[in-house]
């Protein structure tokens, strides 16, 4: 019987060929969805909206519901379904929506650093015309407008902005007989004095992975992440001015302020946690961190000022974070969707959203009005008014962000692996590769 077992051995070559042919025949190129604009513009039907789920979402829902009911009064026979999606998994949800236009929403809220990427992915509709004709849009602050603009075209309406400033402990500074710092040099020396007086405290708590806390140091020295416009950006992070800023920020990592072994790996959230639990004299936090710090053990013992720049009385330019509202290219209700976008991003809704959630409005006049009501936002409004900055409006930014180019650069300097010149040159090279790859 030995041989009969061997018989099949003669066959595999033929069968393998047959199998391979089968595989090749059934498996064609990977999937690509036809994600062009639908061409339809229906005036009735259902609009689907995706908004972000906030930590405490109830008040946001109330504001949104009010805006939607105003919208529905103006548009009879229209239904609006709103879904709140978690921020952490937004990338997957959005990708899925772009891949399958049938199950995609009509209107979305999105993070403003994602704008260029979503435009390149072919997801967002160009609303330049409607935005320009919209009466309220003329009061939009220029930085917020920049965050919806790619190559001169507008892809949505700013929803709210977020900006960072300097939180400091009033009790500690008073004990040491110090004033709130007015220049960058004073900021650094104050930080070291706090640490020297109490070695259990970080002076100014900083993080090696806290890109948006570090950027003001670079911007205030006149440095930039990258320069250029439209499709062609070139990294500028290795310029002399930027290197000065990197040097200033990384000088804060040391036994005399924030020891490298503990601070090099910290993110922005880690620094805010350290400050709110009373382990730091100062921190760079956002208007959106206010609630977390109020809930901490230092409530009533801190104040906020704009992060000082190089010259006395100047403000270090901050990163203008925040979210936008956009319309998806695949929508079959374009006119309605744009109307709803304008309703959600209107002055009235933004003002109510501030009352409910504390999110800063994107209109300069509305922002000034709310600052009068809520004094704690004054330093943030002042920071925005003195000119905030934005990341390069390039699809390459998400790639640069995901591959941690800037945190790696700061950490290389902090841990002494490279000097500022070498680290910034390497970062510039990686950024240019990314800018080049998206064309």
């Amino acid at each position: 019987m030995k041989l009969s077992v061997k018989l099949p051995v003669k066959l595999p070559a033929r069968t393998a060929v047959a199998l391979a042919a089968l595989v090749v025949a059934t498996a064609c190129a990977p999937q690509t969805s036809g994600n062009s604009s639908s061409g339809k513009d229906e005036k009735t039907g259902t609009l689907r909206v995706w908004l972000f789920q906030e930590v405490n979402n109830g008040p946001k829902e109330k504001v949104v519901d009010a805006a939607v009911s105003t919208f529905k009064k103006a548009h009879k026979d229209t239904r609006v379904t709103i879904e709140y999606i978690p921020v952490e998994t937004r990338a997957q949800r959005m990708k899925a929506a772009f891949n399958d236009p049938k199950s995609a929403p009509d209107v979305i809220e999105y993070g403003n650093t994602d704008t260029a990427g979503y435009v390149k992915d072919g997801g967002l509709a160009d609303v330049t015309e409607e935005f320009t004709d919209w009466s309220e849009a003329k009061d939009t602050d220029p930085t917020a407008k920049q965050s919806v603009t790619v190559d001169g075209k507008i892809y949505g309406a700013p929803f709210f902005v977020g900006v960072r400033a300097l939180y400091y402990r009033t009790d500690i500074l008073k004990d040491l007989g110090l004033e709130a710092p007015r220049t960058q040099a004073e900021l650094i020396s104050t930080a070291k004095k706090i640490r020297a007086a109490d070695p259990d405290l970080y002076g100014l708590v900083v993080g090696g992975a806290y890109t948006y806390g570090a950027m003001p140091f670079i911007w205030s020295q006149g440095g930039e992440i990258a320069q250029g416009k439209g499709g062609s950006y070139a990294a500028a992070i290795d310029s002399a001015a930027a290197q000065k800023g990197i040097k200033a920020y990384t000088s804060l990592f040391g036994a005399d302020n924030c020891p490298a072994a503990k601070c090099a790996g910290m993110t922005g959230n880690d620094t805010v946690t350290a400050f709110s639990s009373g382990k730091a004299g100062m921190a760079i936090g956002g208007d959106f961190s206010h609630a977390a710090i109020e809930a901490g053990k230092i409530k009533g013992k801190y104040a906020v000022v704009p992060l000082p720049g190089v010259k006395p009385g100047s403000v270090a330019p901050a990163f203008a974070g925040g979210n936008n509202i956009g319309v998806l290219k695949s929508t079959s209700h374009r006119t309605l969707a744009v109307d709803l976008m304008e309703q959600l991003a209107s002055k009235k809704t933004q003002s109510e959203l501030f009352d409910a959630m504390g999110f800063l409005p994107t209109y300069t006049d509305v922002r000034d009005a709310v600052a009068k009501k809520q004094p704690f936002v004054a330093p943030f409004v002042k920071t925005l008014a003195s000119g905030a900055k934005f990341v390069p409006a390039s699809a390459a930014w998400s790639q640069i962000d995901a591959s941690l180019v800037l945190p790696t650069m700061f950490q290389e300097v902090i841990s002494g692996k490279k000097d500022v010149a070498a680290a910034s040159k390497d970062a510039a090279k990686k950024m240019n590769d990314a800018f080049g790859s998206v064309g």
Partner: protein, 310 residues
């Protein structure tokens, strides 16, 4: 028996005339398994290979830009990246250390299991199963907390103040290694323990009567008898530890200070998948597949050469 006779026998057995039918019969029986394997294994690998040759990012998936054939462009980009080679070496060394430690701990505890009484054995089993059942994210977070410079109990017990374990490259890798060993030794232990229980006790008694030491019994009696099991757990461990992701991602905050603790999987995620460069990510996937296949084949080959059929 000649071929002709064998065919006649096969024909008779199949009860059908004709030579062709008999030749195809085994494949007919294998077909369901082959179809499942083809669908679940061959097709995805084929797609992986295909995508690695394309410029395929989110823009291509959602139809913003046409898909373009790039040849080996993704591979050239990858191999030209110095960081890739550093990460590759770190991954190989780290995985080797993890495999050796896991096997050593797992085998030692399996032998221990056969030597202790029922109650301690139950306790050890339960502890091991607990570690095994803990999700990787949870395990990593707990280990990180244990070694936290400010609040962790380890530093307090050792009395080393606020020493940070994740700052140095090697101490961070060592910390992750501990966690990886902790969550993967139970599989080795349970499997090897089952193997030891299946070894006839006469063999062990004979060895003991001949005056063999514990170590000698393990080396000359148990290890050879357990060879097939050890081969399986080794290959499994190699594959798991080479692909470790969660532990590094969680414990070193996505690759450590300035990326010093990156391993290939985390590198692939950051470099490619997080920014939707699926083509480049697939190229990294293909490289990992080739390395794992090579390691496994070389290992099996080495065992063969030592004259053992598996």
């Amino acid at each position: 028996m000649t071929t002709q006779e064998a065919v006649t026998v096969a024909k008779a057995a199949a009860g059908v005339p004709g030579r062709r039918r008999a030749r195809w019969t085994p494949w007919l029986y294998l077909a369901p398994a082959l179809v499942v394997l083809g669908a679940l294994l061959v097709y995805p690998i084929y797609q992986l290979g295909l995508i690695s040759l394309l410029k395929y990012t989110q823009a291509q998936v959602s139809g913003g830009e046409p898909t373009a054939f790039e040849g080996f462009g993704n591979y050239t980009t990858l191999f030209a990246d110095d960081q890739f080679w550093q990460v590759l070496i770190a991954t190989l060394v780290f995985a080797a250390a993890c495999v050796l430690s896991t096997l050593a701990v797992g085998c030692a505890l399996a032998v221990l299991l056969t030597r202790v009484r029922a109650l301690p054995r139950l306790a050890l089993m339960l502890a091991a199963l607990g570690a095994w059942a803990t999700p990787a994210v949870t395990g990593s977070t707990v280990w990180l907390f244990l070694f936290d410079p400010d609040f962790g109990p380890v530093n307090r017990v050792l009395g080393i103040g606020d020493h940070s374990w994740t700052y140095g490259r090697y101490s961070a890798f060592a910390l992750v290694l501990l966690e990886v060993v902790w969550c993967s030794f139970p599989f080795v232990m349970v499997t090897v323990y089952a193997g030891i229980r299946a070894v006839p006790s006469e063999v062990l008694e004979a060895a003991a009567l001949d005056g063999a030491s514990q170590w000698r019994i393990w080396r000359s009696v148990l290890a050879p008898l357990l060879r097939p099991i050890l081969v399986v757990v080794t290959i499994q461990s190699v594959i798991w530890d080479f692909k470790v992701f969660t532990q590094i991602y969680v414990m070193t905050n996505g690759g450590g200070i300035a990326g010093q603790n990156l391993v290939l999987n985390v590198y692939a995620y950051q470099k490619a998948f997080a920014s939707s460069q699926y083509g480049l990510g697939s190229a990294i996937g293909v490289v990992m597949l080739v390395i794992l296949l090579a390691v496994t084949l070389v290992y099996l080959r080495m065992l063969r050469r030592q004259g053992e059929e598996l």
